[in-house]
Structures are given as C-alpha cells and as structure tokens.
Amino acid sequence: MTTPERTEVLTGVRVRGLTVAGVPSGAPIVDSVDLDVRPGEILGLVGESGSGKTTLGLALLAYYKRGTQLAGGSVAINGVDLAGAAVRRMRGDAVAYIPQSPASALNPALRIRTQLGECGGDDARVREVLREVALPDTDVFLRRYPHQLSGGQQQRVAIAMAFLGRPDLIVLDEPTTGLDVTTQKHVLETVRKMCATYSCAAVYITHDMAVVAELTDRIAVMYSGRVVETGPARTVLRSPQHPYTARLLMAVPDLDGRREIRGIPGHAPSPVRRPAGCAFAPRCPLVVDRCRDEVPALEDGVRCFRAGVSRFEVVERVEVPVVSADAALEVRGLSAWYGSHQVLEDISLSVPRGQCVALLGESGSGKTTLARAIAGLHPRHGGEVVLGGESLPPSGLRRTPLQRRRIQYVFQNPYESLNPRKTVRELVLAPARVLLGKVPDGLVEDALSQAALSPELASRYPDQLSGGERQRVAIARALAAQPEVLVCDEVTSALDVSVQAAIVELIAGLRERKGLTLLFVTHDIALVRTVAQHVAVLEHGRIVERGPVAEVLAAPEHPYTQALMADTPRFDTSRFSQ
C-alpha cells in the first residue's frame, strides 16, 4: 500500500490488452483490458452480471473455460509472462483462485486433507494456514469431506487452499455470495488479513459496491467486457468519472437512509450484441453521437468521451412520517413445520393498509416460509392468517377464488417464476383467467404498463427478456389479478444492483399510487429503509424485533438486529462525498 509509484513495472500483476473471445462466435467477452495490481494491494473488480468479470478473473490465471479462448494481450506476474508452459507451474504457486461457490469447487469425493495437501506445503504448513483462516487444524477436521462443513468453513478452506502456496496473485470471485452478513464480515476480514500477511496482489471480483468500498484499495469497473473506469477506490467512489459508474453508485441502497436509490433504465448488452460504439451508450443519459460510433479508449482511468460530465448525485431522502392505518393483513400466532422440524414459532404480524412491512431475516430464518404460509403455499401451519377481517384457510386450494385473488405473490427469482414455455401475454393472463372469471379487455396491456413495460413485450417469451423485465412481468402478472396485498419474496435478490433499484422504485410507486399493501421479504437490511415503513426482524423462526423502520434501524434493541446493522458493509457516501 505504500509501494512507490515508480516501481510498478516489475512487481505485481500487469495486464495489457487482454482479450478473451467466445468460441465460435469470436465475440470478445473480455475486451482489451489493462490492469495493474501491486503486491499487497486489493483490486476490486466490479461489474454486473454478464460484464465478463469472472472470465477476466480466470484469464488472469491463464485459464479459459470451454467456449472461450485467449484472443490477445498478456498477463505478467512480477515480470514473468503467464503463458505457455509456465502456467501450470505458476498455478497454485504464483497464482491462486478462490471460487465463487466453494460448495461446487471443492471436490465432493475427496477429504479436506487431500485437497489441501495438493496445493503444496507439508502437513505443518497446512495446519498453519488453517489456523490463519481461523479453522480448526485437527485431524478430525482434516478427515472431513466438503459436505460436512458449513458454507463459511468451505469458503475458508478455499481461502486456505489459495494461500498455501504463498501466491503472488490471488483472484477471489465473489467469495462471499450466499453467506450471511456476519460470516461475510469474517471472511472479508480473513481475506484482508491474509492478503496483508502474504503481501500478495489480490483481485476481488464482486457486484457489491458496499463490499468494494469496505475492502479494496483500487477499483476497476467493468461494463460489457470492458474496464470503463479504474482508479483508487476512494477516488472512484467519491467522484466517478464514467456515467455508468455514477449511475451504478446511485443505485446502491443506503443503509443509513440518507439517500434515495435510482435504477438505470435498460440492461447491459451481451458481448455478441454489443453496440458498435460505447457499450453503455444506449442507457447513457449523456450520450452524444460519437458515443454510438466509436469505442472510447481508456484514458486517465476512464473509458468515456464525456468523462467527468456526469457526477454522483446524492438525492436526499425525505423520511415520510408513518401514519396509522387499519390492518389489511394480520398474522396471529402462526407456527409452521417442515416435516417434524418447526420453522416458525408463534408469529404475529400486522400489515397496515396501504403501507409496506419489511420482513427481514437471513437465510434459514423462516421468512420465505412465512410469506408462503400467508399466500397459502405452505398449508402445514397453525395459527391464523386474517385478510380484511376474514380468516383464511391454511391451504390455498381451500381458499375461495376471491381470497386467493386478494393476496398476490411475487417470487424471488424471475428466472424461475415464469414458465419459459408461455408468452408474456399468457403468463399475465393465467391468474386472471382462474381468479377473475371474465377477463376484461386490455387487461394485459394495462398490467404491463403499470409494471412499466411496453405492451409490445406481450408476444415475447421470458427467455427473450432481461432479468429486470422478467421481474416486471411477474409483478404485472400479480397486478392483473387486482390484488389488495402484494407479497414480495426477495424480489430483487436475483437482480443486479441497477435493476434492483428500478424494481424497488416501481414497487414503492405502486404502493403510493394504487394504495397496495405490501409485505416485502428481504435479507438486505439496506433495502428495508428505502422500501418499508415497518420492519419485522426474523431470527430462527421468531420475530425478535419489530417497529417503524426509522426507529428500529436507528436504535436496534435486539442483539441480532444490532449485529446485522454492525456487520453489513456500509456504502457510506458521506465517507467519500464531502
């Protein structure tokens, strides 16, 4: 971190003009990337899905997945070109990789000892590194198979594996995906500590700006296969030069609730259909003609003709006071089981009409089960679900069409919740057909436009839509049934930040304009502030804290809520933008 600027030539990682192309299309998935990472430095490689960040990460180890190949450029580590026969010798020794999902990257058939032992180093070294990553170094542990470890342990094993050979470069590909915030915090700390201990150059691939802000020294922002902006983390986050970076930052939810979030309209192009000029041009608010024809070069860390024109604008968030209203939906003493395992215990919850209650919990807390029980999808529950004063049967099949109509459910993953064999029209019509009996004219167009979708999409199939569009279709489908209560189950967790922001805006707008009552299930405490008026925090199947959002987040009382607040990485704009 204190390395003088002038020594950059020989030490660390030097990437020049690296291009990885798809086979057989030849389309560059990674296009002319230049990067430098110094020893001991952590570079945050930020990008949304499909931006080519994983492909780039693997290319840094001279590894190309089937269907991709090196099309140009070079990677050098401490002056040694990573090419040809040198690669295998250097892998695991000079360069190492920490995969996104250790559950699938650890060989299920081999013991931990075997897999660690392969990475060089004797038994003592293996135990040493295990201790460094805060894992037990016992024989019992070493004899285990990957499936006998928790997700956090698996990820630590992967980290240990990477550091065993004391590498010069380590590539971490979203290593905390799927971990809860507390575990994530520990893993991030471990990563930081290990990188410092070994003074190795690290490339940390992620889509999470908050993590980048907390962890990294420098940032490279990728968009559609190209690095569009790079520079010291502070600088880039404080004053982004590229319009995409700026808009991306504006889309990140603010845990402290001082800032509104704004999505970016449209979606990123795939490498095959990348426009001729700047790839961001179709979505860029500052676009000029030149942007459409010519690819800007990376100059002074920015790849933009209009660098610096755009700014990171903070839209101050105005806290709206919560007014009291009668409960549209009430849950009384609800308990639920999976087989003999109880997942929810005595839950009581009230959702005021026209307001949004956020149900906050980490994976396994039972939040989705609760949402499904309310929607009638989890009939194995006791207690009561009351809708507008009317107690509902536990099973959706026993509810009347009217009851079913009044509560609509939007699923987490729009890639899963839309039948890929049906057109958007059929999808939107399906619940209305069953629930409304007679389908009013223009229902589909109406629902689509409410979800901010063009009616032209009606004839498309889900596969022809982007993730954001799909989730909008799912929302349109729910709206078509003309519900009173909308249950949103982690509706943005499968989406990119920029799209998430747009969906959150849409949902908030629906509540305001149509007076919809919302139950918003999420694991992201930062989103709660933006979306909801009330929050209920769920831990191990119990509600541990509840109340108006502003109060709960400002002064959490339960230790669990406090831990959540403390462990969630902050994208604290005030740190940069003063």
């Binding site: 590894y63 060989n107 058939a109």
Partner: protein, 313 residues
Amino acid sequence: MVRLAVKRLVFGALILWAVSVVVFLATAALPGDTAQAILGREATPERLAALRLELHLDDPLVSQYFSWLGGLLTFDPGRSLVNGLPVAEFVGPRIVNSLVLMLTAAVVSTPLAMFLGTWSAVRRDRAADHVTAVVTLVLAALPEFVVGITLVIVFATGPLRLLPAVYVGTGQVTFVDLVLPALTLVLAVGPYIVRMMRATMIEVLESEYVQQARLKGLPERTVLLRHAVPNAVGPVAQVVALQLAWLAGGVVVVEFLFRYPGIGYALVDAVNNRDLPVVQALALLIAALYIVVNLLADLVSLVANPRVRTAIR
C-alpha cells in the same frame, strides 16, 4: 446407513414376492401344462392323465403356489416337475456358470469401457473420440447373435480354430469355453458404458471442482485420476448395474448360441417344459440379481461419492 440398507432390503424382499406372484400367475397362464409339455407329440389323454397325477398337477393353483412359497421360505425351492431333481441341485451349477460368465463379462467390460469412455471424453471432438463414438454406436446397434456368430466364424469354425465354437461338456466350464460367450457379452454391454462414461466424464470435467483442481496447477493426470474419475464412477455405476441386470436377460441369446450351460438356457428350456418350480426359481433369481446389482451400484456410488450419503434420505 443401516436403516437405509434395511429399508432397501425389505423393499427388495417385497419386490421379490410381487415378482413371484407375477411369475406364478404368468406361468400358470401359459397355454399347455407341464405334462403336455413333457409328452409333447406323445400327449395322449391316458398318458397325460397318468403323468398329471404323478406330478400333482391336478392340485389347485393356490395350493401349488403356497406349497412352493412355503418351501422357498425354508430354502427349499422344491423339485423340478420335469426331471424330479431338487431345483437347487438342478439350477445351482447353472447359476454358478451364468454368474461366472456375467462376472467375466462385467470384469472385462467395465474397466475397459470406463477407460475408453474417459479417454474419449479427454479427447473430446478429436479423431480418437469420433472413432470410439462410431465403433461403439455400431457395436451397440448390432444384435448379440450377429456379434456372436461373427466371432464364431472368426475364431472357431473358420480357418482360425483357436477356440471352441460351442460348449460341449457336462456343466463344468473351463476358461476356453468362456472366451467367446464372454467376449460377445462384452461387446454387447461395453458400448453403453463407454458412452455413459464419456458423457459423465465430460460433465465432471466441466465442473468447478475440476476447474479448481486445474487452477491449483495439478498435472492433468492427477486432475483426471484423482478429481474427475471418482466423481464419474457413481453415476456410471448405475449404468453398469443396469447393463449387468440386462445381462441376465441378454445372456439367454448368448447362452443359446454357444450352448452355454447357464440360467438363460435353463430358463427358456423350463418355459418350454412349463416346469413351474424351475421357471419361478430362475425368474426370482434374475429379479434378485437385479435388486442385488442395484444395491451394489448404490453402494459403489456411496463409496465413490461421500456426498450421496447425505443426499439419500
């Protein structure tokens, strides 16, 4: 684990019982009875009546079934209706012969096919892969008897008289008797295993843990043998099991062609003779074989892939 094994065994026993009922009803429904089948052309009413009496064929079906089932539970599958020998004594050596044949075929074909499949997967889309693909496709498409007859012409009745064309003897098989029938079965069973192994290996080779192993800088040999193959063994074991179970049926044609004294040969004979106890014993045996082979395959999967242990309920 133990509970699982017990549960599977109980299910296996239930399946066997259902099979016994099906077989019993099916054999009872066969046109013609044992007496008619034995006498054939000579089946005059007087001789039929006398033989039926001798064979207790006039007992009601249900009592025949239960006396047989009762015997089976006391490990006595009764006597052959046709030659009066105890079924166990009559069928026993044939079971051994068939098992020897099937095991030989399995022991030869499985590693060979797995090797070829792996090789093919590693050389994916190269010449070796294409050649293997074509050869296995053609072999898989040829009926066993064509393969068998061809082998006989090449090795036994043609100019090269290296091996016996058919089995001649009293039930004791020797190595040379085994070669051609086993080879025929190997060529019949192998191609499927090759193809399955190839497909599975390709999937495994694309997995993240293989990617990770490569990224660790392990030599390709180690990646293949330590990381890829063990994970392919599990799924392929299921296919091998299916193929072995198929052998139980496929062995019929081959045993006939080579006059090999095994259960396939005995089964066809017993069906022709309407020899109920023998048909049932053999059918049950084949079913039991299927169940055992499948259990074994599960076991192999278990050993090969510790994750399955937790995956099985």
